[in-house]
Symmetry: C2
DNA sequence: GTCTATACCAAGATAGAC
DNA sequence: GTCTATCTTGGTATAGAC
């Protein structure tokens, strides 16, 4: 059907639709992660993505659908990262591989925080459904595929939530002024702490 | 000065100012806990408190100041609860007393969730400051007053954040349909689970 | 101390050109 | 596929009466 419509002289931005969608999704993840669902405007997302506000709405229909897409993408990225971590370096203990994979997700700025914002909006019909479903999927994965017991799985999730909170609360801002902040960050992130500090834009190289 | 202005014939609602403030603060805690800072309107808070929207603004100045007051109150209530738990039942291990006190805070509906919403808004100058300060205060308390080591303190906080997340995501909705949800809830709440299930308005008595 | 009425602005969404 | 212009709603905050 319409087999390539050979010699299409005009350079139509073919397939750009998907690329744009992904671009906006990435930008949206960052903004939503910083300001939350309701606190983010479609205009801020548009600015971050370098497109116009109506175009953002055009692509996803509504702001809520955009946020849901952000959540779903975040969950997908996370599961892919977990599965990959599970398949690599089999000499290391599972929980350590999972932990490292989780911390590495901080590279995808706003990803874990967007999830966190979704997690506390369980009262919202649509957002709540996606959030619960995703959270349960992770738990199931940890038990069924990663082979963790229910206690270990809960432990892993708990530390994940603490990490998310420390990042969301910007505890890094207190890193070099407050010893307790430093202690918590080092305890939660270990060797990966420099990674987080490097991401912090307000930090001056010392 | 104006010593009681004896025989003030008109029954002016004296001191009602503080009472009203507390009333609105409590209502606001519930609404903010459910919808977050940006997702809440001053009108919703007013409706929940049974007063007019302009009056809510009048009392606190701005919506942001109201939210900051909610956060501060939540932190204060929590610290009081922790200190009390520490002074009672000295035969029980500290972490157990702290844990029970924490779970009991769920009675104050929206309190822990309002805090959680504040915790993920660290990028906001005012909210972030209060959130970080409060979080660090809890950590300091756990180490200095409750006598926990840094690892135990972090562990405690981690489980607290998981609990907050499970409540925020409304995992209770899946309690009797999803075995994994049930397992997580029972693992995190233990004997206190019925307390949470009872709070859930959507649950039908079985 | 509390309300009604309202000004004012921000933001999501639509229309329609290119 | 992407933009500019704009409609419309809803929400914070103010004015002012009681």
């Amino acid at each position: 059907m319409s087999s390539m419509s050979a010699e299409a002289s005009i350079p139509i931005p073919r397939m750009a639709s998907d690329e744009r969608r992904e671009l906006v999704l990435k930008a949206a993840t960052e903004v939503f992660g910083q300001r939350g669902y309701a606190g983010t405007t479609t205009d801020q997302v548009a600015a971050a993505a370098g497109v116009s506000q109506p175009y953002v709405v055009r692509i996803f229909g509504t702001k809520e659908k955009l946020f849901l897409a952000v959540l779903q993408r975040a969950l997908d990225v996370m599961m892919v990262a977990f599965r990959q971590a599970l398949s690599e370096e089999p000499e290391l203990p599972v929980s350590q591989r999972m932990g490292r994979a989780y911390v590495d997700l901080l590279q995808d700025r706003g990803l874990l925080l967007s999830l966190m914002h979704g997690f506390v909006l369980g009262a919202d019909p649509e957002i709540g459904r996606v959030a619960r479903c995703g959270f349960l999927e992770v738990y199931k994965f940890l038990k069924a595929e990663a082979g963790l017991g229910s206690v270990e799985a809960a432990e892993f999730l708990a530390h994940g939530m603490l990490l998310n909170t420390l990042v969301g609360i910007r505890m890094t801002d207190e890193y070099d002024t407050n010893p307790d902040a430093r202690e918590m960050l080092e305890g939660s992130l270990g060797a990966k702490l420099p990674l987080l500090l490097a991401l912090d834009h307000t930090r001056t190289a010392s």
